[in-house]
C-alpha cells in the first residue's frame, strides 16, 4: 500500500506545517452559516490543501461533494455534476461540503464557461459550505474568484518539521534510514509533503538506488540561483547552472529579474545586463535555427554573471526594481483616475493615454504653465493631482 494513502491525515491535527492556515480553515467551517462567504485555499501542490479539507470534513461530520476541476471544465459539465447534489443533507443525514479542487485547472487555456458556473454557484447556492483550492494565485480568473471568497494561503512545509513527520512514519513502519539519506529525501521534496512521503517509501524500499537517485538531484530555481550567485568561480557557477531544474529561458528570465532588482550601482548593473543580453542573443539564435550545440556557449557566458557582480546577488522574481514598484503601488490609483479622465478629453483609451499621451500632455501643459488649470477643470482628486504634478516635475527634470 502506498504510504501516502496509509498516512493520509484523519484529523486536521495530524498534519504538519501551515498551522495558521489550518486553524483558519477549522474556524471557518466551525462557524459557517448559510450565506457565509466560500473559502479559497491557495498554495503550491503538496502543502496539504486537499488533505486538510477531507480531514476536517470527516472530523466535523460533513460529507464532501468533490469536483476535481481538472476533469470537468465546461459550464454544462459543472452544473450537471454539482447541481443535483446540492441538497443540504446526504443519504445518511450528514451535512454536505462542496469542494472544488484545482480550480485553476477549471479554466484551462480557454474558459469554456467554467468561471461563470462557479460564480453562479457562489451567488445562488450559498446554503452549503464551499471550499475551493488552487495552486496559482496569480491566475487572473483565480483572482476574480478570490474576491468573492475568504482566502487562506498554504505554504511549503519547513524542512525541519517535514523531517520529524517523516521520521514518525518510518518509526510506525518499523524501518530505519541513514540520516543523510533522510535529509536528502527532505531536501528533494522541497516542502511538498505528498512527494516527501512517496520519496520516503521509495528510499526505504531501495536505499542504495535511492542514494544514487537523490545524489543526482537537481536544484529548484530559487535555491539554485542563490548557490549560483555565491559560486567562487565561473566553472563552479557553470556546474550549478546546469543542475538547476528549469529550461534555459526560465533561467535567463530569473537571472534578468535578479539583476534588475539588485541593489547595484548603475554601471555594474549595465555590465551584467549586457552579459544577459548577449546570452539572450545566443538563445534567440538557438531557437530560430535549432542550433542546440550553441547551448554550451549560452551557459558559459551566463556562468560569469555571479563572479562579475561587485557584490553577491540574490534571487528575485521581481523584474521591476523595488523603488519603481513602490511608486507603482502608491501612485497607481492617482494615475488611473487621471488617465481615465484624460482619455475622455483626448477621445482615446485610458491605455493609450497611459502609454503614450500622458507624457506629452504633462510636458506641454507644464511648459505652458497651464497644468493646474487643466487639472482643476478635469476635477481631479488631490491624490491624482499630486501624482501628476510629481510626474510633470520628473519629466521636466529628465528633459
Amino acid at each position: 500500500m502506498f504510504w501516502v494513502e496509509k498516512y493520509r491525515p484523519k484529523t486536521i491535527a495530524q498534519m504538519v506545517g501551515n498551522e495558521t492556515a489550518r486553524l483558519k480553515l477549522y474556524s471557518w467551517l466551525k462557524g459557517w452559516k448559510p450565506g457565509s462567504r466560500p473559502l479559497m485555499l491557495l498554495g503550491p501542490p503538496g502543502t496539504g490543501k486537499t488533505s486538510a479539507v477531507h480531514a476536517l470534513a470527516d472530523e466535523l461530520g460533513y460529507s464532501v461533494i468533490e469536483l476535481n476541476a481538472s476533469d470537468v471544465r465546461t459550464e454544462e459539465a459543472i452544473k450537471a455534476t454539482l447541481m443535483p447534489a446540492l441538497t443540504n443533507l446526504d443519504l445518511f443525514g450528514r451535512q454536505k461540503l462542496v469542494f472544488l479542487d484545482e480550480i485553476d485547472g477549471l479554466f484551462g487555456q480557454q474558459d469554456r464557461g467554467g468561471l461563470n458556473a462557479v460564480m453562479e454557484l457562489i451567488d445562488k447556492y450559498n446554503t452549503l459550505p464551499m471550499v475551493m483550492a488552487a495552486n496559482f494565485k496569480d491566475d487572473e480568473k483565480v483572482k476574480k474568484l478570490a474576491k468573492k471568497c475568504e482566502v487562506v494561503y498554504f505554504k511549503r512545509v519547513p524542512p525541519r518539521l517535514l523531517e520529524l513527520h517523516l521520521r514518525r512514519i518510518l518509526k510506525m513502519e518499523g524501518k530505519e534510514l541513514p540520516r543523510e539519506l533522510l535529509k536528502r529525501v527532505v531536501v528533494y521534496s522541497r516542502g511538498d509533503v505528498r512527494s516527501a512521503i512517496n520519496n520516503l517509501q521509495y528510499a526505504s524500499l531501495a536505499p542504495e538506488q535511492a542514494e544514487l537517485f537523490f545524489r543526482d538531484m537537481t536544484l529548484g530555481i530559487s535555491e539554485g540561483l542563490e548557490q549560483f550567485f555565491r559560486a567562487r568561480s565561473p566553472e563552479m557557477a557553470l556546474r550549478i547552472l546546469s543542475e538547476i531544474d528549469a529550461n534555459p529561458e526560465e533561467k535567463l528570465r530569473a537571472l534578468f529579474s535578479s539583476v534588475v532588482s539588485a541593489d547595484l550601482d548603475i554601471g555594474s548593473k549595465l555590465s551584467l545586463l549586457k552579459l544577459i543580453s548577449d546570452a539572450d542573443l545566443i538563445f534567440g539564435r538557438i531557437k530560430r535555427r535549432q542550433e542546440w550545440r550553441l547551448l554550451k556557449y549560452f551557459y558559459r557566458l551566463l556562468s560569469h554573471l555571479g563572479v562579475a557582480s561587485p557584490r553577491p546577488l540574490n534571487y528575485s522574481e521581481a523584474d521591476i526594481p523595488w523603488s519603481l514598484r513602490l511608486r507603482i503601488w502608491n501612485d497607481a490609483s492617482g494615475f488611473k483616475e487621471a488617465n481615465h479622465k484624460l482619455a475622455k478629453f483626448f477621445h482615446s483609451s485610458s491605455k493609450e493615454v497611459a502609454s503614450t499621451l500622458l507624457a506629452y500632455f504633462l510636458l506641454i501643459a507644464s511648459a505652458k504653465g497651464v497644468l493646474d488649470r487643466i487639472m482643476d477643470r478635469m476635477d481631479l482628486s488631490d491624490a491624482a493631482k499630486r501624482v501628476l504634478e510629481a510626474e510633470a516635475e520628473r519629466i521636466g527634470g529628465a528633459r
Partner: protein, 115 residues
C-alpha cells in the same frame, strides 16, 4: 537585518510612501513598539519594501511553533535550501528539533489550539 516573524522591530525613518506601502502589505505598526510581521502580512512584498527603503538585506526568521522562540535557522542543516519566504511561518527551534518527543507534542499542541 534580522526580522523574527511576529516580533516587533524598528526601522529608521523610511518616508511616507514606504510606510504606506508597508501598511498596505499588512505589516502591523504600533507606536513605541515598532513594526511587526503578522499572519496576513504579504511577507515577500514587505521585505522588498524594507530592503528598498533601508538599503539593507532582510533575513526573515520563523518562530518555533512549540515554544515561540526564534527558529534555529543559523544552525539548521537545511538553511541553504530553505526559502524562508516560501515556507509557512512556524518551524522549530534547535532544542525542540533535537527532542525525540517533539512531533507528538506538535500534533497535540495543534489540537489544543483548535480548542
Amino acid at each position: 537585518m534580522k526580522i523574527v516573524f511576529g516580533e516587533y522591530f524598528h526601522l529608521p525613518r523610511v518616508g511616507k510612501d514606504a510606510f504606506i506601502s508597508l501598511m498596505k502589505a499588512g505589516v502591523e505598526y504600533e507606536k513605541g513598539k515598532g513594526f511587526r510581521f503578522v499572519e496576513g502580512t504579504d511577507v515577500p512584498r514587505a521585505i522588498g519594501i524594507i530592503e528598498a527603503a533601508t538599503g539593507k538585506r532582510v533575513e526573515l526568521i520563523p518562530r518555533c511553533f512549540m515554544d515561540g522562540k526564534p527558529a534555529g535557522c543559523e544552525k539548521c542543516e537545511y538553511r541553504y535550501m530553505c526559502n524562508r519566504l516560501e515556507v509557512s511561518n512556524y518551524c522549530l527551534c534547535d532544542d525542540c528539533y533535537e527532542d525525540e518527543g517533539t512531533i507528538s507534542a506538535y500534533y497535540f499542541k495543534f489540537s489544543e489550539e483548535l480548542e
